[in-house]
Symmetry: C2
Subunit: 347 residues, 2 copies
C-alpha cells in the first residue's frame, strides 16, 4: 500500500467517512425508502407498512467510562440510545438485538448487571430482546444494539421535509447530560486525588441522571399520535442541538432560525454552567446525549401542542440555507455543528 | 462488590453465559415466535409472514487476524457470516446493517477496501446495506452485522423439529476453513521468522479460500424451495459439525447417529490434514467457519435430493438423546461439542 494514497479519518471526520462508505456501497436497492443518512433505515413491507431499523455501537473509553457508569445504567442507556433513533422517525420501537464483546475483566455477575439494565429498559419501553451475540474482546467492553419497529408509511417522519413557516420545536430541556458528564468527570478527578473523599453529586442528581440514565421520548411519539400530528421533519438530539439543526436544515434545504432565549434549559443546567464557567447555550448547542427530539410542525399543528408542558418552540423555518441563531442581543450568528467528534485522536 | 459472588465467564462458557442472560431477560414477549437460542430471531408480522433477524460480531484478534486477512475479504466474510444465519432458518436474507469500530491505525482507504468487500457480497447475494454505525475504537477493529429477511411462516426451519427416521444431511464439504487457517498460521510464522520468504499457499488455494472468503449457502435454500422441500431442522456449521449436531439433537430431543466415513471432506482437506498430522474427522467435527448447512429431511424428501451433487447424507435420527459417531471401525462414540471457545484466556 506504500504507493497508494492514504487519508487519515480525522481529516474528513465521521460524516465525511459515512459519505465515502455510501459511495463505496453504490446505489440503494429496491424496497428501501430511506437508507444510510437518516436516524434509521426504512424498509417497505407493502401493505403491512414499513420496517424501521437502527443500529448503535457503544465502546468503552469512547462512549462511556465504567469508572462512573454503573453497568445497569449502561445496559439501560444502550437500549435507550437505539430506541431514540426509532422515535426520531415518529415510529414506536418493538424489538431489539443486543450484542456485547467482553474482555477478561468482566465476570458473569457483571454481565447480568448489564442485562438487568437492558431488561428494565425493555419493560419501561415495552420492547423485547429477540437475539444478540456474545463474544470475547481483547480489551474493554463494547455494545451493539439494533432496534426495529413497524409503522404505517404515512406517519413516518424524515429529516428532509421541513416547510417554510414551520415552527421548530424541541422536547424537554437541553445541555443537562453534558453538564452531568462535567460533574462526573470532576468527581472522578477529585476521587483520584483523594480516594477517601465522599462524592458530592446529590445536588447535581438531575444532571447526573440525564447523563447516566437518559430516556427516549417514545412518550412524545404516542402523544403526537393521539392528537393526530405528524411532524414535517424530526431528529433526536444525540450530538447536540447545533449538529441536529444542521442535519434538518441541510436535508430539508431550508433556513432554520432559532432564538437563543427560547432554548429550554433546566435551572440545574444553568446554575451548574455558572459553576463551571460554561455558556449554557454552548452546553445545549454542542453538548450531546440529551436524547430529546427536535422537530418541525406546521402552524396549525403547532397550535394543538403549544400548551404541552414538554414542547418548546425555539424558532421557525424560512427560505434559505443553514441554521442561524438569533442571540439575546439580537445578532444573527450562523450555527456550525460541532457535535461529538469520535475521531479526535487520529490526526 | 467485594462480598458478592463473582464467576469467571470461562467457568460457564459462552453457552452458559447465554443461558444466564436469557434468565436475566425473563420471559419472551408476544409476537416473537423464536427468540434467543436459534440461528436467528423470528418475529411474527401477521399475514405478511415473519421477519427473520440475526446479528453477528467479529473482533480483531478474536475472530480474525489482519496479518493474513485482507480487508476486502473481511468485509465479504462479515456479511456472509450473518447471511448464513438467515439461510439456516430456511429463509432468504434481504437487508443488512453494518457497524464498524475503528482504531487510529485505519485510514479512509482501508475502510473503503472493507466496504468494497461488503458491496461485493451484497451484489452476489442480492442484499442491501440499509444502515449502520461508524465509530472510533480504542484498539483494533470490530464489526457488527445484522441481517434480516422476510419469509412465509410455513417454510421456516428451526432447530427443534427433527423427526425419528429423518436423514441427516450436510451441504458441501467440511473442515476446509479450519485447515485453511492452519496453513495461514504456518505461513505467518514462517514469514515472521524469515520476512524474505515467498508465501507458499498456491497449492492450498481451496482451503485458504474457504477460510478467507466463505460463502453462505443461500443457493441451497433456493434449490430446496424450487423442489418444494422444507427441512425438519437446520443449522449453519459455524462452530464445527460436533457443536451443530449437539444443538439439533438437544433441541429436537432425538439421537443423531452420524457415520464417520460419510462426512464429506475435500481431497485438499484430507491431504493437508496428513501434512499437519491432524485427524480429518477432528477438522470436520471441531473446526469451524465452513458455513455449510446441517439439516434433516424426511425420507420422502431425501429421495428428491439424494442425487444433488452438493448434499451428503451422513446419518439418521433415532429415538434417544445426543449425537453419536459410528467410527470407521464400527464403534459408537458419543459426540461432544468442542466448537470454538471465544473465552479461552479468561480463567
Amino acid at each position: 500500500m506504500s504507493d497508494q494514497k492514504t487519508t487519515d479519518i480525522s481529516s474528513i471526520g465521521e460524516f465525511g467517512l459515512i459519505e465515502r462508505i455510501k459511495e463505496t456501497l453504490g446505489d440503494e436497492r429496491s424496497g428501501i425508502s430511506k437508507g444510510i443518512g437518516d436516524d434509521a433505515a426504512v424498509i417497505d413491507l407493502g401493505e403491512k407498512g414499513s420496517l424501521i431499523m437502527s443500529t448503535d455501537t457503544l465502546i468503552e473509553g469512547i462512549h462511556f467510562d465504567l469508572s462512573y457508569m454503573p453497568l445497569k445504567h449502561l445496559g439501560y442507556k444502550s437500549v435507550v440510545v437505539s430506541l431514540s433513533d426509532i422515535a426520531a422517525m415518529n415510529a414506536v420501537p418493538q424489538y431489539l438485538t443486543v450484542s456485547i464483546g467482553l474482555s477478561s475483566k468482566f465476570t458473569v455477575e457483571a454481565v447480568e448487571e448489564f442485562y438487568r439494565g437492558v431488561e428494565l429498559a425493555c419493560k419501561n419501553y415495552e420492547v423485547s430482546v429477540v437475539g444478540g451475540d456474545t463474544t470475547a474482546s481483547r480489551s474493554g467492553l463494547f455494545i451493539n444494539v439494533t432496534a426495529i419497529g413497524i409503522s404505517t408509511k404515512d406517519t413516518l417522519t424524515y429529516r428532509n421535509d421541513a416547510k417554510v413557516k414551520d415552527v421548530i420545536c424541541v422536547s424537554g430541556d437541553l445541555g443537562g447530560a453534558y453538564m452531568g458528564m462535567h460533574v462526573l468527570e470532576r468527581e472522578k478527578k477529585e476521587f483520584q486525588a483523594n480516594p477517601d473523599m465522599q462524592p458530592d453529586i446529590e445536588q447535581f442528581s438531575y444532571l447526573v441522571g440525564r447523563q447516566l440514565k437518559p430516556e427516549a421520548r417514545t412518550d412524545l411519539i404516542h402523544s403526537l399520535s393521539e392528537i393526530g400530528i405528524v411532524p414535517s421533519s424530526m431528529i433526536d438530539i444525540s450530538d447536540g442541538l447545533a449538529s441536529e439543526l444542521m442535519h434538518l436544515s441541510t436535508q430539508s434545504e431550508k433556513k432554520f432560525k432559532v432564538y437563543e432565549d427560547k432554548i429550554p434549559l433546566a435551572e440545574e443546567t444553568r446554575s451548574t454552567c455558572m459553576d463551571f464557567g460554561i455558556d449554557p447555550t454552548t452546553a445545549a448547542m454542542n453538548g450531546g446525549e440529551d436524547y430529546e427530539l427536535l422537530f418541525t410542525l406546521g402552524l396549525e399543528d403547532f397550535e394543538k401542542v403549544k400548551n404541552h408542558p414538554d414542547i418548546t418552540a425555539i424558532g421557525y423555518v424560512e427560505e434559505g440555507a443553514g441554521p442561524v441563531l438569533i442571540t439575546r442581543s439580537g445578532n444573527n450568528v450562523p450555527i456550525k455543528a460541532q457535535g461529538w467528534n469520535h475521531f479526535p485522536d487520529q490526526s
